[in-house]
């Protein structure tokens, strides 16, 4: 039996009310692969990278690297998480009722409990810094998988590398690549292995593909907004994701 690890944000979350690509892919190839779905709503690269590295490391203890494949739908680079633990539950009102166990896991992976802290981090950390931190997580995951000879495919939930825009996550109208705006990020573009990425046109992601290929393919009230509908995710899986499986 081969093993397939998926991770990402809400666009890759198997619990999303609109069925996402990991489940549609499982429908297609579940006879060949055992699936591990780690994608989680509202998560950024902090959680995604940790979940993948921990899970793959665990699988490698009992399996050959050739039998493991990883697909990650990376999230927005501006997203940040905080580790909820015995120290942070005393710091923040929103975590005051958090029941801490001796160790915490997410999606069954023992990496601790990482919770969305975007708004708080935006008060002290620049967007440029957030992009650096997120790209470091992606590259650390890339280098871990390479050094362990585990094959993988990366894509973005939307265009991650054009100017960020919270309101409009699609590529159109968002201008140049972010390292032109933020020079401290440019060396990270050098060391990313772009051959392992899938893009729709220039740096476009899942959202851009749905926008260009399916009319009103999202669950938002205004056509091309919100999350891709289950049928959109299904078509994306058939047309794009399934072709990565060897």
């Amino acid at each position: 039996m081969k093993h397939l690890v998926t991770s990402g944000c809400s666009f890759s979350d198997y619990e999303n009310p609109e069925r996402t690509w990991p489940l549609h892919l499982q429908d297609l190839i579940q006879d060949e692969y055992r699936f591990y779905h780690l994608g989680a709503c509202a998560q950024g690269e902090d959680y995604i990278s940790r979940s993948v590295i921990c899970k793959v490391n665990e699988l490698l203890k009992d399996n050959n690297s050739d039998d493991i494949f990883v697909i990650v739908g990376w999230s927005g680079l501006q997203r940040r998480a905080i580790l909820v633990n015995n120290e942070t539950t005393k710091m923040h009102y929103r975590f005051k009722d958090w029941k801490m166990g001796p160790s915490e896991s997410m999606r069954g992976v023992p990496i601790g409990s990482w919770q969305d802290f975007d708004d708080e981090y935006q008060k002290i950390q620049s967007e440029e810094h957030n992009i650096i931190q997120s790209m470091e997580h992606i590259i650390r995951t890339q280098d871990f998988l390479r050094v362990r000879n585990v094959d993988y495919k990366f894509f973005g939930f939307c265009n991650l590398f054009a100017n960020l825009d919270e309101e409009n996550f699609l590529t159109e109208g968002r201008g140049t690549r972010i390292d032109k705006k933020y020079p401290n990020t440019s060396y990270l573009f050098d060391i990313m292995d772009w051959n392992k990425w899938w893009f729709h046109n220039e740096f476009g992601g899942l959202g851009d593909w749905v926008n260009d290929n399916i009319k009103d393919g999202f669950d938002g009230g205004t056509g091309n907004s919100g999350h891709p509908l289950s049928d959109s995710q299904k078509l994306f899986t058939k047309e794009v994701v399934s072709k990565w499986i060897k």
Partner: protein, 314 residues
């Protein structure tokens, strides 16, 4: 000589007469020291990636690069401040205590990326007071609302692994070490006969700078005392066991690539332990810099630890 030796770390790697400056460059290779005052492990890892990538872009064969990393304290954290996004940027970079800012990005003449554009604000130890009050107030926000020891330990392990995997993929030889033990939870009780109260429990760098002997600004005889014989970090709890969320990261670190100083008193020791307990040197770099090792201690460390590694004698 085609070889380049990239050295990275905090002020224990780049300040007055530190160990990289004692490497014979004609014999061993040209030293590119990217160490920086007050650097934490996030900044250290970034400085290595930047310089290795820079050398490869300049045409250097990875086989001709060797990297030495001396990791710093786990609590340290850096924030990127830029003129683009931070309204306080000018106030920060024009204010006092500029040596606690820096950028590892440099041009072909080894000039740093201009601070007028951007710089990394380095926190140093929790709640350290900067001469620039505005920076202190900013960093206090981090310590109060964001910092936990557990998360900072995870961040340090991830910085170590990022470099391990990055260099392994490129086939670059490297050695890792610490400024002092950063992996155990340990303390030391002041023995009898010294100015500090006998039995006082002291921690971290306070142990190794030996100011507890005399309770003055600086003295030249700060040798490790003969009656300081008890266990210090030896057989103490490892932070990775105190924080199980970090254990799987610890298990992935390639410990064969590390140098540690260990004896019956300490484990996972670094430069500080080596100077105090192995070299038996007095601590301090004079009145102006009592917190750091002297250049002569760094020279001994380079000759007795770094050069044998460089010459493949270890």
């Amino acid at each position: 000589m085609d070889k380049i030796i990239i050295t990275a770390g905090c002020s224990f790697t780049n300040s007055d007469g530190t160990w990289p400056y004692h490497i014979n460059q004609e014999k061993s290779g040209w030293v590119h020291n990217v160490g920086d005052t007050g650097a934490g492990n996030g900044y250290i890892s970034r400085s290595i990636v930047w310089e290795v990538n820079n050398q490869i872009k300049l045409g250097k064969d990875p086989k001709d690069i060797e990297v030495f990393i001396m990791w710093s304290g786990i609590t340290r954290k850096e924030f990127l401040s830029t003129a683009r996004e931070n309204p306080m940027h000018k106030l920060w970079v024009d204010g006092p205590h500029k040596n606690w800012m820096g950028n590892f990005i440099r041009d072909e003449h080894w000039n740093r990326h201009p601070s007028e554009d951007s710089t990394w604000i380095k926190s140093s130890i929790p709640y350290m007071t900067w001469d620039n009050k505005s920076v202190t107030k900013f960093l206090d926000l981090y310590w109060k609302h964001f910092y936990s020891e557990e998360e900072s330990l995870i961040n340090t392990f991830e910085s170590i692994l990022r470099i391990q995997w990055y260099l392994d993929n490129l086939g670059i030889k490297y050695t890792m070490m610490c400024w002092q033990n950063i992996f155990n939870q340990y303390s030391f009780k002041v023995p009898s006969g010294w100015k500090r109260q006998e039995g006082d429990e002291i921690f971290g760098h306070e142990i190794w700078n030996l100011a507890w002997r005399d309770n003055t600004h600086f003295k030249t005889d700060r040798f490790w005392p003969e009656n300081g014989t008890g266990k210090i970090s030896k057989d103490t709890p490892l932070l990775k066991d105190i924080y199980p969320n970090a254990t799987h990261l610890w298990d992935m670190i390639d410990w064969d690539k590390w140098w540690f100083y260990e004896d019956e008193q300490v484990e996972y020791g670094g430069l500080a332990e080596w100077i105090c307990l192995k070299a038996c040197d007095p601590w301090g770099n004079g009145e102006h810099d009592p917190g750091h090792p002297s250049p002569s201690s760094h020279k001994k460390f380079c000759e007795q630890v770094i050069l044998p590694i460089l010459e493949n004698k270890v």
